[in-house]
Amino acid sequence: MLKIENTLFTAVMAVYFASMLLYFCFIAFKKDGFARFAVIAQAAGLALHTLALICRGIGAGRLPLTNQYEFATSFAWGLSLVSLVFILRFRFKALGAFAAPVTFLVIGYAAMQSKEVRELMPALRSGWLGLHVSTAIIAYGSFGVCFVLSLIFLLRARVQQGSFLDQHLPDREKLDAISYRASALGLLFLTFTILSGAIWAERAWGSYWSWDPKETWSLVTWIVYAAYLHLRLRRGWQGRAAAVFAVIGFICVMFTYIGVNTLLPGVHSYA
């Protein structure tokens, strides 16, 4: 089963790469047809990715959410899923051209990690693992999409009026509204992640919160996005300022994910 997963993972990378190229062609050659195929390729990649994760789960005999490789590939899955939902929900195909490279970078990072299946330490053998990590995947995926939308927002002013891209990008007001949706989804799921992690930590270690670096940085990320959502209510803080804030928020997300694991040892060091 793990061999099948390995093959599927390679296929997923190839399909995501093809999807990214198609999105680029859509922008470069200014033809809607490329975008249609890019979305189809992304959906196909997502289906294969889901299958690969299922195979990994069956092969490992547990949820595939416990080490750097598994979380990275799941993070890429979350990014791909949330971006596809936003592309379809808001009929915003150009989003794919910006989100696909981020997804490809994350899955590329996954490819560089060890794929070895290790047995789980007793603390990780819990039903809370699935809820805790899967909500984190959706949260990170949503923040990734929010980051991409904020970048588009910041670049939007430079797009020539009447150009092909101008016609395929929502105006700044709408981008801001969509970005808000993505960050709201991320914050909600990050809250579930922190809560489920706290309940699990209490059962495993007897304490809801122990200021472990991962916990602390999840809280920092939560505070940054909470501040972002509050700032948006203030005059003068919508639009550009909010977009810059969302970019800072995603830097926190990435530090929580990669930086903490590699630079700050703690109880999440295995993740």
Partner: protein, 439 residues
């Protein structure tokens, strides 16, 4: 004076103050996470130099999350949340009450409006259900609202965070914590609770490859005075047990051995020692033996030191240190049949066994803190995903209706949905002599 007080209250409960506090707290958390917490002054001095260590000590950065400045910041955040909720509650109740009142709707000037012919057709397109009909100020009116609970989202979320911080802090301050550790059959006092725990069973489950899957301890809790009946429970990692108002957690394990002391060949004392524990020779004040480590299957690897080949006690050895009046006087590895001799005293180790360590906690506030967390999540759900929407139409002249829509959280997306719904309701044309779309 009263005005100044009101101004201060408004500032302390304001969003601006909350954002400043959040930014400072986030920066403090980020900075503190990069510094190893809970080390001694000497440790910081050796690592960062005397001056930095003094700075760390002065600001309590070695225990930043429990330092006075962090507590003060958190207290200000609680005050801000409390005042913010208190200041807003009246207005929120009024807004909730008037949310669907036709008379109130007529006084509003929302951003979304359009002249339409068949307003009832717009409502389903905005997921508004069947509109209520009314007559207000001589005008026919259709109105529908949804998502009223969303008005309370931020308020509920603030309340949840407040309860979470409050009960978590109370729990941390008033919590009683003990550790109970020992080998099979050993009994020990549970701190100052007056209870005695006896280890009835300790099991380490391993996979076929030898990887530890679970640690399970079965124990019995007895009243030291025998006033209550004994109770037994089983704990394992992720499966704590609750007995007599205490929560027992399977925390860790290690190796222990029985230490025996003889004096001139006569038995003097015998007791269990877990790795890391000291034995004080009862007959000789100042003479102490530290059992540093137990190697159940001993091997000495040149360059790497003593190691254990497996967890089976087939060739046990014990790393010890001897202290006399606090001074280290010897350190070596003792095999099972060997004795350590100091003057007329001989110390030996035997029966290497795994010990279990249980953590015991008494915290009456943990459930309330959890409740605070759940209220926060519900509040966020209401704030972010339940959008208070009101749509209403007022009859005008020539069979035309003025359609209005309000969704403060919807922004441009609601405006677009409204425009589409208005289209379905047949937006009037310029020939009607009225504006033909959103104005």
């Amino acid at each position: 004076m009263r005005n100044r007080f009101h101004r201060i209250v408004r500032f302390l409960g304001s969003m601006r103050f909350a954002i400043v506090l959040l930014a400072v707290l986030a920066a403090a958390c980020a900075a503190a996470s990069t510094l190893t917490q809970g080390q001694s002054y000497a440790w910081y001095a050796q690592r960062y130099g005397e001056r930095t260590a003094a700075f760390i000590a002065a600001l309590d950065l070695d225990d930043a999350f429990h330092s006075p400045w962090f507590i003060v910041l958190s207290a200000f955040l609680c005050l801000d949340l409390l005042l913010c909720n208190l200041v807003r509650v009246k207005a929120l109740i009024r807004r909730t009450r008037m949310f669907a009142e036709p008379g109130h709707l007529l006084s509003l000037t929302p951003e979304c409006s359009a002249w339409v012919r068949q307003p009832e057709k717009a409502f389903p397109h905005l997921n508004m259900g069947i509109p209520a009909q009314s007559e207000t100020d001589g005008k026919s009116m259709l109105s529908a609202v949804r998502g009223r609970a969303g008005l309370w989202g931020a308020w509920v979320c603030h309340l949840g965070i407040l309860l979470l911080i409050l009960f978590f802090s109370l729990g941390q301050t008033l919590e009683k914590q003990y550790t109970v550790y020992g080998v099979l059959g050993q009994s020990m006092a549970v701190g100052s609770t007056g209870y005695i725990a006896t280890i009835d069973d300790f099991r380490i489950d391993k996979s076929e490859s030898g990887f530890v899957e679970q640690y399970t301890t079965r124990f019995t809790l007895r009243d030291a005075n025998g006033a209550t009946t004994a109770q037994s429970a089983q704990v394992s990692v992720n499966h704590p047990a609750r007995l007599r108002g205490m929560k027992f957690f399977q925390n860790s394990t290690g190796w222990a051995a029985k230490a025996s002391v003889t004096k001139n060949g006569e038995p003097l004392q015998s007791q269990w020692l877990c790795a890391g524990e000291y034995l004080e020779v009862s007959d000789k004040p100042g003479l102490t033996v530290l059992l540093s480590a137990v190697y159940p299957d001993y091997i000495f690897v040149p360059g790497a030191g003593p190691k254990s080949l497996s967890d089976s006690p087939v060739n046990p050895a014990y790393l010890y240190s001897v202290y006399y009046n606090g001074q280290l006087v010897g350190m070596n590895v003792l095999m099972q049949s060997e004795e350590l001799t100091v003057d007329e005293y001989a110390v030996s180790f035997s029966e290497p066994s795994p010990y279990t360590l249980l953590q015991v906690k008494q915290n009456s506030f943990s459930l309330f803190a959890l409740l605070g967390g759940l209220i926060t999540a519900v509040g966020l759900l209401l704030a972010l995903y339940v959008q208070p929407v009101r749509v209403w139409a007022v009859s005008g002249q020539d069979g035309l209706w003025r359609l209005f829509g309000e969704n403060r959280k919807g922004g441009k997306l609601f405006a677009e949905a409204f425009a589409k719904a208005a289209e379905k309701a047949q937006i009037s044309t310029p020939e009607d002599g009225k504006p033909n779309a959103e104005d």
